[in-house]
Symmetry: C2
DNA sequence: TTATCACATGAACAATTATTCATATGAAGG
DNA sequence: CCTTCATATGAATAATTGTTCATGTGATAA
């Protein structure tokens, strides 16, 4: 976290305290951390697959596991993460728990990401 | 990666091969991996801060380090990651290297993420 | 060339994390 | 009650990754 030994302190920015101004214009650290955390949740193949599987309809945990060829435990663990970030919601129906995308924000995010990936 | 010992195979999905159909509708694994990887790049506080710092104007490495109170080495390492994902571009001017956002995709992504974070 | 500045990079370490295995919870039916 | 099915969760392990430190590269100026 501390600066390295000898920074030349030679700013290329025009103006004297341009660096401080720029720093003060950044959102609070807490907000930036939450933002990074949100992206981190999307940043895992398994979770992305789960979200994609839920694109068209809600699914229960076992079905997600079968669709993705994954263990029930692993899926459940990741659903927990997705739940914590409010990316999915769920409802109970007997023994089964059905998960679905929480809102259209999720679709928008993935769609935007896809645009970049597909160049 | 292999399935767990004894899945009951009791699909809740209507229809017999609904599971296979859903699986086949998913994008290729490679694409989903790339998508996750893109989000993973956004999923780090340092890189998010760097991108934010570049929102208004291009900056050289040393200035970014000063704005974010980080070591030059750490910034450089992360710029490498951002470069590899085509989120930033750069140009050389004498000894300094100036980085800037590659396109408006980056702004859109961050803006969308912010909407979710700010509830 | 030699010295210095700005940046890049390799290695090592610490911290985070996704999966597996085993077990616990909770609902429905007998 | 007891059993079974569906899901959740805790612990342990392996793999990934961000930072630091030290050093390398490339450009400018004397």
């Amino acid at each position: 976290m501390s600066d390295q030994a000898s920074l030349p302190e030679q700013a290329h920015l025009s103006g004297n305290n341009a660096i401080e101004t720029l720093r003060d214009d950044l959102p609070d650290d807490e907000i930036l951390y939450d933002l990074a955390e949100l992206f981190r949740v999307f940043g895992d193949s398994t979770r992305i697959k789960i979200l994609y599987a839920l694109f068209e309809s809600e699914l229960c945990v076992g079905d997600i596991a079968q669709v993705l060829h994954m263990s029930q435990s692993s899926v459940s663990h990741q659903l927990r993460v997705l739940k914590a970030s409010k990316l999915v919601k769920f409802r109970r129906e007997g023994k089964a728990v059905f998960y679905s995308l929480d809102d259209d924000h999720v679709r928008s995010m993935i769609a935007l990401g896809m645009e970049h990936v597909e160049e």
